[in-house]
């Protein structure tokens, strides 16, 4: 494939512009300008891919040098010293040989990352979500900590709500608004490692910080209160533990409540089966309804807002544009909303 002179430099400029437009986009129509830029580039400058021919030629000559170097080490006596340290020589040659491929991969990755970012943003637009500005991430965490057991006894430091979306769900029987949050925390552990200093072995303690993320949805649920159905983590201040009649449910979840009748009324057989069904799709699922009738559904899956899979990228502007301007469903979010609808359906009162 033939590229124009300065193609890579033009392409970098284009990608910077595209990224800037994508970051500033507040609605789907804002992407039209972005796709116009991409299509104009393709018609004027060439394909949206980096010209790696110079890098590949460089790698070829490095390889040729390696072959020449090997022959020289055996044929030229003065080179025998270099052969004694062959592992250093070939290590350096290998690093130099890999560099062009690494750079080529990195550039291709940039195109993929920008495409992924655009798609993620469009998913938010298509599903009626809006990113909320968080004035104090730690402050919001403290507010959630006060309201829900999910946020208690999790992590040792760096606890905050990093991202917050607001959304509205419209189902066959109910309409409700919800918030989708991403919760970050760090678990600190101390690891003792033996260290030999001369002939003496001492132990040194290292502080190891491991970051974790939990994801979840908050909404109003006025049909019950003071009840938690937990599969993993958090700290819940309820008087009693209750078991359902389902062996499978009891293996996955623990139920905490102040009043067993509340738990029994909420966990109807259809609701128990709904929990078992949703537990197949979400890891470490916890559901709590606090004293104010607010429900928190938390899990470890980080792909709630992912669609079926991106098929195209900005390298194919027309196909990618069709993909972006079609409706991008998010199966996991839809599943969660259906689950909430089931909980509401079997807990409301028809008369």
């Amino acid at each position: 494939m033939q590229f124009k002179k300065g193609h890579n430099r033009q392409l970098v400029g284009l990608l910077n512009q595209v990224e800037d437009i994508a970051q500033k986009a507040s609605k789907e129509d804002d992407f039209k300008k972005l796709f116009k830029l991409l299509k104009d580039f393709v018609s004027l400058e060439g394909p949206i891919q980096f010209d790696n021919s110079a890098r590949y030629w460089f790698a070829f000559w490095v390889f040729a040098f390696a072959v020449f170097f090997t022959i020289a080490c055996f044929k030229i006596p003065a080179m025998s010293l270099a052969w004694q340290y062959w592992y250093i020589s070939y290590g350096i040659i290998l690093i130099i040989f890999i560099c062009p491929f690494f750079l080529a991969g990195s550039d291709t990755n940039t195109i993929s990352e920008i495409s992924h970012y655009i798609m993620q943003k469009d998913i938010v637009f298509d599903n009626g979500l809006s990113r909320q500005k968080i004035e104090s991430k730690t402050g919001l965490y403290h507010d959630f900590h006060r309201r829900f057991g999910e946020f208690r006894d999790r992590g040792d430091e760096d606890r905050y709500i990093s991202t917050l979306f607001a959304g509205n769900a419209v189902t066959k029987e109910f309409c409700f608004s919800f918030q989708y949050y991403i919760f970050h925390y760090v678990v600190v552990t101390y690891v003792t490692v033996p260290v030999k200093v001369g002939k003496v072995t001492t132990t040194v303690t290292h502080k190891v910080k491991t970051p974790y993320w939990r994801y979840g949805v908050n909404l109003d649920f006025g049909f019950t209160e003071r009840l938690a159905i937990i599969s993993s983590g958090g700290s819940y201040n309820y008087a009693k533990k209750w078991e359902t009649a389902s062996t499978d449910f009891n293996k996955v979840f623990n139920v905490y409540c102040d009043d067993e009748m509340t738990a029994s009324k909420f966990l109807k057989p259809a609701v128990v089966l709904a929990f078992l069904d949703i537990a197949q799709c979400f890891d470490e699922l916890n559901v709590e309804v606090n004293g104010g009738g607010q429900m928190n559904i938390a899990f470890s899956d980080d792909n709630l807002l992912e669609s079926a899979g991106r098929r195209y990228s900005i390298a194919e502007p027309e196909k990618f544009e069709n993909e972006i301007f079609s409706f991008l469903a998010v199966p996991k979010l839809d599943k969660l909303i259906k689950f909430v609808e089931t909980l509401k359906k079997y807990n409301d009162f028809n008369f």
Binding site: A245, T247, K268, P269, A270, L273, Y346, N350
Partner: protein, 188 residues
């Protein structure tokens, strides 16, 4: 000291084996109790229909020309519900309640004037959710039966059951009316 090692090992082995046998025995008891509780839940959900019948009676009362026919079906359903016993598993009685429920609803559905009644619509929504819960309770019950049967039939539970519990396998509930409508019948 060395003379004590073998007797200590034998005692430890016996204690471990006893612990395992006790654990398996208790697991069979727990599984059986869960089957019974599952059945009790099915009956409890079926019996909730008794609370809904007055709502249908109230809706029907306005339509004198249909009242007699539907009241006959309601009486038959009440009688069938009374045959249900939370303490003993009786699939025939459960199937009878299902038949009588369907007969009552089919009779009510045959009258358009009744169908348009707001009270009747709410009644049907409630019955629909109730039926969903009954079906779910039956699914949970069947799964508990499967777990119980596995615990007494699979090794080593079958040995412990043969020696201690002496429980028999429980049959799962099947809706014979639904099965009759399917041509394919697997051979077990």
């Amino acid at each position: 000291m060395e003379n004590l090692i073998i007797p200590a090992a034998i005692i430890a082995a016996i204690l471990t084996l006893s612990g395992i046998i006790i654990g398996i025995r208790n697991a069979i008891v727990i599984a059986k109790n869960r089957v019974q509780r599952g059945w009790a839940d099915v009956i409890a959900w079926q019996r909730k229909k008794v609370q809904l019948i007055p709502v249908l009676e109230q809706a029907v009362h306005q339509y004198k020309q249909y009242e007699k026919m539907i009241m006959t079906k309601i009486t038959a359903l009440r009688t069938a519900l009374q045959q249900l016993d939370q303490g003993s598993i009786n699939y025939e009685a459960l199937r009878e309640v299902g038949k009588k429920t369907n007969a009552m609803i089919a009779t009510a559905e045959a009258y358009p004037a009744l169908r348009s009644s707001e009270l009747y619509v709410k009644f049907m929504n409630e019955v629909s959710e109730l039926e969903d819960n009954v079906a779910s309770a039956i699914a949970i019950f069947n799964r508990n039966v499967e777990c119980f049967n596995n615990s007494i039939q699979a090794f080593p539970g079958n040995l412990v059951n043969g020696m201690l519990n002496k429980e028999k396998a429980v049959e799962t509930f099947t809706d014979t009316a639904a099965v009759a409508g399917i041509d394919f019948k697997p051979k077990f």
